[in-house]
Amino acid sequence: MFEGLRSRLQKIQGRLEENIETASAGAEPASSPRGPAPAEKGPGMMDRVKVLVTDREFFISEDDVSEPLFELEMVLLESDVALPVTEEIISLVRQNLTGQRRKIGESVDGIVFSALRDALMQVLGDGFDLPAYIRGHDRPVKILFTGVNGTGKTTTVAKIASFLKKNGFSVVIGAGDTFRAGAIEQIDEHARRLGIKIIQHQHGADPSAVLFDAVQYASAHNVDVVLADTAGRFHNRANLMNQLDKIRRVMKPDLIVYVDEAVAGNDAVVRAHEFEKSVGADAVILTKADMDSRGGAAISIAHTIGKPLMFLGVGQGYDDIMPFEPAAVIGELFGGSKENA
């Protein structure tokens, strides 16, 4: 994940720097005290020249960066960062860049880097440490998984169960997807393989009841964590969203985790927003990140609902899940190119 975005970003950085360098090169003659020519170019130039002569600094103008910024925009869009989010990032970078004064000789990439990095940092926010969260809360910690169809909720529940088990927590799974054919069999098989207790009712049962039972079981048996799977549902189906709301009222989850796929495009933003609005979300898990090295959906979703990204699903095995650390990711995103510079 993110490798694609990284290599593209590096290219853009090169371009941004180039343009700013040429801008500064063009302005350089003005720094010589006997060069009156630039002053005649217009009143706008006066300020620039003054700054240039007295402070030995120059302005970065909007024109200098507009073309590379357009390219940056394309890169973000091609990386599945949703359009509104892309536009916001671009305007942030533009704001950070234009109007800035730069000392002659100061490293150009420093400016470009910090502008991009700040913009992305602002968007990605902080990570989420699940084991620490569980340790810091009363047992059982109830975690509800929501999301649209086919994003990988059930597989993710299995992976998280395995992850928590390895971290020394006891886990019970509630088979809350009572709708889709084969869903109960699927999670039952996962639980069997992982050696984890599962609470299930028959197909078509009320998911609230199943999950309530799972919570009851956990309280009675001192289980640390309840993982509540649910059926996939679209955010525009009022009844299904109401059902989810009922589940929330009945099992009173400590954490609501919204699961979506890393390959989702612009709709990721729409549905994340709707889920957040109707049942809430405390953290996000992105699945299928191994399909996509761009990671745009991560940026869009995080930006839209402002909730931390907890894990990335990166494969079909139980261990194919990794905690998401934004600082590390951003470091990685820009790290490679720093050496080039």
Binding site: E78, P84, N149, G150, G182, V263, A264, V270, D290
Partner: protein, 439 residues
């Protein structure tokens, strides 16, 4: 947000309305809005750029056909280019065939397999399915449950891990069945061993069709994934799933472009009947978040064939009752006046209110009255003396007052037209005509 997008597109179209020559700035604006709409719909960014370039060039370089306004001209180009993007509409033949389903994890292959089985079953064919998903727990149970609800035989074995063997045996078991659908495990392009597996299954089954199932929400990845699948097993059709959400399915267009195939079905719900044949026009409307584009284009084209209205005669100031009759007729064919007006380029032109305050009932009445006129009267309204009015009223089952009202309406229209002609030439006569005629 989506509605806003549609509105801004409409606004951009409206800006073209008042123009007599194609205005570069207006086209630029339209193209920009179009780009936004398509990118938000997850259409591949490169495709969008190529498309908008084509639209821009064609709009500015091609001469609008005679009688077609600038707006309609551009609208038609936009529509044509979008249709081209859709690729061919995939054909479904109702005969013996083997269909291999392919796609990413969680795209909805298994559900779609069952829906397809139902589709062919309803067409009166004997259908069977093979569960080739040996990886995901519960995959066989899911397919088996769905199929048993519609009494379609399902071959599979949840304990067997060899998909190739299952497919081979399944085909043998279902020999003599007309349509065999093979469901496979979800896989993505980077999983080399799984890609090899589906290449083998394709070879073993000698599948007639290899359909790629694409989640409507799939973003820019769609191109890449479709390309790899296409390289592996030569995809010849695309099915979009989960169109009942808010996703626009633009990713499927990227897939179509990569595989040079067409979209065949659309999955739009959780029950087994929720499978629709692909309808390009509905899809385009959804992509752009605006009304039926084709209907608009068709209306525009219709209005050209309505060439019987003698524009030149009108330019010379000859607007007869006969012309008005044709206009009323045209309006009648196209539905409620108000609705048509709302779709029309209104520009900045002010008309006497009564010109379109007319109800459709009144319009029908006017036509009946005019039916009772002689040809000479229609061509030369000044002939209409009081006795003629009396005769027409009796012939049309109307009162003389109604006939006079019609004449008054005619005069208003005529005056309005004259006024336009007398203006500073800032109005387009043809557009004016269409406006009166309803288009």
């Amino acid at each position: 947000m989506l509605d806003r997008l549609g509105t801004s597109l409409k606004d951009a179209l409206k800006k073209l309305a008042g123009k007599t020559v194609v205005d570069r700035a207006a086209v630029d604006e339209l193209v920009k809005d179009l780009q936004r709409a398509l990118i938000q719909a997850d259409v591949n960014v490169k495709l969008v750029m190529a498309l908008s370039q084509a639209i821009k060039t064609r709009s500015l370089e091609e001469e609008p056909p005679k009688g077609m306004s600038v707006r309609e001209h551009v609208l038609r180009i936009v529509y044509q280019e979008l249709v081209r993007l859709m690729g061919s509409t995939g054909e479904v033949k109702l005969g013996p065939q083997v269909i291999l389903m392919a796609g990413l994890q969680g795209s909805g292959k298994t559900t779609t397999t069952a829906k397809l089985a139902r589709f062919f079953q309803r067409k009166g064919l004997r259908v069977a399915v093979i569960c080739g998903d040996t990886f995901r727990p519960g995959a066989y149970e899911q397919l088996f449950t769905l199929c048993s609800r519609i009494h379609v035989p399902c071959f599979g074995d949840p304990t067997d891990k060899d998909a190739r063997k299952l497919v081979r045996e399944g085909l043998k078991a279902h020999a003599g069945t007309e349509v065999v659908i093979i469901d496979t495990q979800g896989r993505h392009a980077l999983e080399a061993d799984l890609i090899q597996e589906i290449i083998d299954i394709n070879a073993i089954s000698n599948a007639t069709h290899r359909w790629l199932v694409i989640d409507a929400a799939l973003g820019q990845q769609a191109s890449e994934q479709a390309r790899r699948f296409h390289e592996a097993i030569d995809i010849d059709g695309v099915i979009i799933t989960k169109m009942d959400g808010t996703a626009k399915g633009g990713g499927a267009l990227s897939a179509v472009a990569e595989t040079k195939s067409g979209i065949i079905f659309i999955g739009s719900g959780e029950t087994i009947e929720d499978l629709e044949r692909f309808d390009p026009d509905g899809f385009i409307s959804r992509l752009l978040g605006m009304g039926d584009l084709r209907a608009l284009v068709e209306r525009a084209e219709e209005s050209i064939s309505e060439g019987e209205i003698d524009v030149n005669a009108m330019m010379r100031g000859k607007f007869t009752l006969r012309d008005m009759y044709k206009q009323l007729e045209a309006v009648n064919r196209m539905g409620p006046l108000k609705q048509i007006m709302s779709m029309l380029p209104m520009g900045n032109l002010e008309l006497p209110g009564e010109a379109y305050d007319m109800t459709s009932a009144k319009m029908a009445k006017y036509r009946i009255i005019m039916d009772s006129m002689t040809a000479a009267e229609l061509d030369e309204p000044s002939l209409l003396s009081s006795s003629r009015v009396q005769r027409i009223a009796i012939g049309a089952g109307a009162t003389p007052d109604e006939v006079r009202e019609l004449l008054k309406y005619y005069k208003t229209m005529k005056r309005a037209l004259k006024g336009v002609r007398g203006g500073q030439g800032k109005f387009n006569m043809q557009r004016m005509m269409k406006r009166f005629g309803g288009m």
